[in-house]
Amino acid sequence: MSDVTQARRVWLPWRARAAAPARLRAPSFGKNFKIGLGAGIILAMILTAIFAPFIAPYDPYQQSLAMRLKPPAWMEGGSARNWLGTDTYGRDLLSRLIYGARLSILVGVASMLLSCVIGTTAGLVAGYKGGRVEQVIMRLADAQMAIPEILLAILMVAAIGGSATNLILVLGVSRWMVYARVIFGLTRSLKQRPFVEAATLFGGSDRYIIRRHILPQIIPVLTVVATLQVAQMVLQETALSYLGLGLPNPTATWGNILAEGSSRLFVAPWIADLAGVAIILLVWGINMFGNGLREHIDPQSRLAPR
């Protein structure tokens, strides 16, 4: 009898953990401040993005020559009219940052979903099928690792042009290997577990076994990787925009605002600074949330091993 419970604990770590003594149990969501803090920041950003038209004091595209390059309210020469100042064309920076949240979050999440679907499928198939299929998929992943992601993205944007759809496509394709490698390793080790072998012996189809027995075991890890990847995608979009390969110019994205600001560092350093702060806040929130999630799922991965 004890053998059975013992075996269960080894084979089903995800469920067994709940049955472990209290001090080993994963801390509940509420106790992990990282998850709470991260979720709070992300939620605030998403709400800002959704309700941008109601929050933003001005139209982010409205130009005004008279109001060019006004500094933020707390700096000399600034006024409460434009809280965070204005840019080269007299557009209100706060409004542009608020609208910019929309595209940054949209591009980040959508490209993460795309690379997640491609990478997870590739990793599952490679890990489950093995043999030649595995060789083809994983060698392709290795080959792509030899081209810096940002370089690949630069080439692709140059080839197909920058629009929101293309940007999502490019970012999604440039990072699928991250998922493929993690999921491949997991799937290969899961495939050797007795419960998968048993399901195979019972005549379960590949598709059934992957969906019923392998996918559920992968979901926790996948959630963490995917969350942290949104942050990477946001950063990547910023870098592309900085290089002039993001969305076409008047569009309010954080990357575009940062790029424009960095060419005006002498006269209006606040533009680049504030865009950077907005990016850091979102990415930091996502990283917090992702790391908190990882600790929740695997308490041993805590930053400080004790």
Binding site: R139, L140, D142, A143, Q144, M145, A146, I147, P148, E149, I150, L151, L152, I154, L155, M156, A158, A159, I160, A231, L235, T238, A239, Y242, L243, L258, G261, S262, L265, F266, P269, A272, D273, G276, I279, I280, V283, W284, I286, N287, N291, L303, A304, P305
Partner: protein
């Protein structure tokens, strides 16, 4: 171990072939370089001549084989912009990029391992808390933004360093710091975690009970063992380092391959872009192999796997 190395070396050409394929496919989507290079008044003969020179009149698979055949001989074709062999132009600029990347890497390693050790030794005290928090925040920063902040402080406000260009030591300080920011936070956190992990190992306890001081144990017993996780991280991140260099070169007008690539893309100088991407890919693939071998050299446990 010999078999493993042989296998890795055998896979190298395959992965380079795939890289060549990826580059080729993407760049042939870019549109016809002939139209961009010749002005509107050019004669049909001129158009035909340039098209033939670039083999654009052949079917796509034939174009790929011509491309591969030229690669074997190290011939990437002539640059459309500079009228010189593309590979030569890239190699000329490679030095500047490597100088920048290796200075940044050295900086990240020194600072990262140093600060990571401080964190591990001072675990849960103020220094640890401050450094880890800054490192986590640093992970969330678009690293090139640091470059923008550095320019504001050291070039515009204090006037100590030049804003851009290459030349003396003063030119490389800010770009190198900016590049190091791509790796630094992770090196700090990895060093900290692996030192703390190792401090419970039996060989550490044994060394301490022999009467060695804490500092001695840390430097001679723990640190060498902590190198491996850092090395594996660096192996994966070499691509990111070169990618970071492309952006950093743009911020500081550093005359390296990154700016060459962006400039060549803008001018549809396909041979130069192809040469640059492939040379970078070969470099990264070889570095990855070298890192793996280095790990085997350092750690007998890796050798036995």
């Amino acid at each position: 171990m010999g078999r493993y190395i042989a296998r890795r070396l055998a896979l190298l050409p395959l992965s380079l072939l795939l890289v060549a394929l990826i580059t080729f496919v993407i760049l042939r989507l870019t549109g016809n370089p002939v139209e961009i290079f010749l002005d509107v008044n050019s004669t049909p003969e001129q158009i035909a001549e340039l098209t033939a020179r670039l083999h654009l009149d052949e079917p796509i698979p034939v174009q790929f084989f011509i491309f591969l055949r030229d690669l074997m001989t190290g011939d990437f074709g002539e640059s459309l912009q500079f009228n010189a062999p593309a590979a030569g132009i890239v190699l000329e600029r490679l030095g500047a990029t490597l100088t920048l990347a290796s200075t940044g890497l050295g900086l990240a390693m020194t600072l990262g391992i140093g600060l990571g050790l401080v964190c591990a030794v001072q675990r849960d005290r103020a220094a640890d808390f401050v450094i880890t928090s800054v490192a986590v925040a640093g992970q969330s920063m678009p690293s090139f933004w640091l470059g923008i902040l550095l320019i504001q402080l050291f070039a515009l406000k204090l006037g100590w360093l030049p804003t851009s260009g290459a030349g003396g030591i003063q030119h490389i300080i800010m770009p190198a710091f900016t590049i190091s920011a791509f790796l630094l936070p992770n090196i700090i956190l990895i060093t900290r975690a692996s030192v703390l992990d190792l401090s419970h190992e039996q060989f550490v306890v044994a060394a301490r009970s022999k009467g060695l001081s804490r500092g001695r144990v840390l430097i001679t017993h723990i640190l060498p063992n902590a190198f491996n996780p850092i090395l594996s991280f660096l192996g994966i991140q070499i691509g990111a380092l070169i990618g970071g260099s492309i952006i950093t070169e743009t911020i500081f007008a550093w005359p390296g391959v990154g700016r060459l690539i962006l400039n060549s893309i803008a001018h549809r100088d396909v041979p130069v872009v192809e040469a640059a991407v492939l040379i970078i890919a070969v470099g990264i693939a070889l570095t990855n192999l070298a890192v793996d071998l280095l790990q085997m050299l350092i750690d007998p446990r890796v050798r036995r796997q």
